[in-house]
Assembly symmetry: C2
Homo-oligomer: 418 residues x 2
């Protein structure tokens, strides 16, 4: 535990210094980081090559190795992303609301950094720089815990960042990494509530469950999206087809991809054959309940019976569950049972039913006549995205810079008492 306590104390100390910085000072440090990433590109790529070699020796999948891989172009994109963060407005210091009390006390709620943020993530080395830069922009110190597959890359990336911090007169411990691959350190990080204010896990359902069970620090749950689209009987069927195609097939590996289509029983016999035709070029494979199955098979679709556990998972592929529901209540109940509170859509011409769906569907983003694929910090105009939260406290849905801040009640008076 000693090593982590040292990290925690150093981070807290750095956070005190960061809390005093102007936006200009933080931006200056970010510009130097971007420049240093370019300067040290050869060394960074060499370290990354070691990670790639180790990954190949361990027989990791091609997809995973591609996520690990840094190239000159990817590194340039990472440096450019840091410069983009410079261009975003700093939320720190923004006055949320306030006023003067009868006693003469002026009370304002002012945005402040959270303090120290811990993040636990997997393969991608770009996350290291991305999260470090977003935390720095908002005046937070950060403790990074990347996957062991990227330990060489992360070590040099953090070194470059720390050198850049020192060059810009900032505390180098504002950005620290746990590079020892011992998994026990993750458990220790989750208990470091004395020094760490928030944990952002970026990974699959298992990582989030681990954090939920063991963390004594507030965590942001998210990332896993079992998203639904409900085709209500009044929907414009022709236009519904393109929305469904987009939601399912534009990029099936993303968390805002449609997994289960809910179709109102009254329109299933007419609508599903149109869907099969429309999605034919996309090679969609259907997993259907018994009623839907016979319609889909009659229409010549590649369809099989859906298993209950398939309703609770992300396919990550152009596979689509299809379930028939009698009415909107059944659709809402299905989503409550199987959804992950990420992104849920209704296609309907009824404003009343749309409002009921909005009110009663418990999700970060609720869509009316639109594709769930829009749930994204960039799409929503946040400028950046540090994670997608599926919980309801602090931040919900795409998290931008504001989600890395808290507020303080700042009160001042002329020696006033209650």
């Amino acid at each position: 535990m000693t090593a982590l306590i040292t990290l925690g104390k150093q981070a807290k100390q750095a956070a005190f210094a960061l809390a005093q910085l102007s936006e200009k000072q933080k931006n200056n440090a970010l510009m130097i980081i971007a420049e240093q990433l370019e300067t040290h590109a050869p060394a960074i790529l060499a370290a990354n090559a070691k990670d790639i070699q180790a990954a190949e020796q361990q027989g990791l999948s091609a997809a995973l190795i591609d996520r690990l891989l840094l190239t000159q172009e990817r590194l340039q994109a990472i440096a450019d992303d840091v410069r983009h963060i410079v261009s975003l407005a700093d939320p720190v210091g923004k006055i949320i609301d306030g006023g003067t009390l009868d006693s003469g006390l002026k009370v304002e709620r002012v945005r402040v950094p959270l303090g120290v943020i811990g993040t636990i993530y997997e393969a991608r080395p770009n996350v290291t720089i991305d999260v470090a830069a977003l935390c720095l922009k908002t005046g937070n110190a950060v403790i990074l815990r990347g996957g062991k597959e990227t330990c060489h890359s992360n070590r040099i990336l953090v070194e470059v960042v720390q050198q850049a911090l020192e060059r810009s007169g900032l505390p180098k411990f504002a950005v620290q990494a746990i590079t020892d691959p011992d998994r026990e350190l993750v458990m220790q990080l989750l208990k470091l509530d004395r020094y760490v204010d928030m944990i952002i896990p970026r990974g699959g359902a298992k990582l989030h469950e681990l954090c939920k069970q063991h963390s004594t620090i507030p965590i942001i749950i998210g990332g896993v999206g079992v998203c639904h689209t409900f085709v209500e009987q009044s929907a414009d069927q022709e236009r519904a087809l393109s929305v469904i195609a987009n939601a399912k097939t534009q990029r099936p590996s993303t968390c805002n991809t449609l997994e289960t289509l809910l179709v109102q029983a009254s329109i299933a016999p007419t609508f599903l054959p149109k869907l099969v035709d429309y999605l034919k070029p996309k090679n969609v494979k259907y997993h259907a309940d018994s009623t839907a199955l016979s319609i889909l098979q009659s229409a010549g679709a590649d369809a099989s019976p859906v298993r209950e556990e398939e309703l609770r998972q992300e396919w990550g592929s152009p596979d689509l569950n299809v379930v028939i529901v009698e009415n909107i209540e059944q659709a809402i109940a299905h989503i409550a049972e199987y959804g992950t509170q990420h992104s849920e859509a209704i296609l309907t011409e009824s404003p009343r039913l749309a409002q009921q769906f909005i009110n009663q569907t418990d999700a970060a983003a609720v869509y009316v006549n639109a594709s769930t694929r829009f749930t994204d910090g960039g799409q929503f105009g946040l400028g950046a995205e540090v994670a997608v939260s599926t919980q309801k406290l602090h931040a919900r849905g795409p998290m931008g810079l504001e989600a890395l801040t808290s507020y303080k009640w700042v009160c001042s008076g002329d020696y006033v008492s209650r």
Copy 2:
């Protein structure tokens, strides 16, 4: 676990119904609750008498018994508080921000109920009605777990509320209580993350620590206030005296009471004797570091050496710790080490030092030339207070109705795709 799962499911179900209600429907239910509390006053007071009798038999302290006690007047005040909540604006449905994307998708962040709130509290039966009414106003279902000392009172209060809910056409399970005194049920409640969205513990440091260690549900940490006031050397000493007297002696049992006075060394010899004079009528007992001790004793104060553990606790009485610091950095460091992130004050004539204190003091409320006693939902104009949070996520400081809500990204379009 079965009993609690049933409660959880019923609460979730009720939350779905509440999410569809208008402010008018919720206010109507609250008015009926207030009226029914008055109608059933004799039965409520009779049940409360049983709790009081049991408390006396168990030899509970007079202070605790007073907190348990309901009288006709207190019950009337509780009903009046419910009517006051009716008069507050409902945050649900408020649009936080939003706009229309280039794609034509309209995106708005809209305030929504959190869903199901669990609360764990101690003796006071008024909390039962207060929390139930605040949750109902914001469209949340609530599971109440009061102290075993109030089990008779709570049982009938919840019965009255549930009858009132049914009379107003609302689901009675919107308000439920765990009245079985088995402590194991608290542990089970903390793991009910499938159904409960937020836990608000209202009690001492031990209860909060228990929740932090065991809850898989996001919790609101708070309530414990080891508050400081730093007298910087430029402070107006005469006017500082009244602020300190207010912060320490107005109501010493509250969490926003001053516990430790930090005095800059350069002014300690002149300032402390004035303080002793000024506080003489208040019978303040001093616990001081060695330098302060000799000054205080020379000035005729009732003073003894402060023990380190006394710097980490709430006195709850007119006892005051006094610690000498060399400069603002030492004051900030002392607060970082011993504070509970509740309310911290600086008395100074220097705007620069005031700003440094504001930036670097990690607390829900930071005061310049004012008493820490102002940290309160009513004082801050929130209209009501469900708790005081000392954490940084979701809500910080006094929590009003808004802190019982989350937001949803509500997106609508004309069958738009990304």
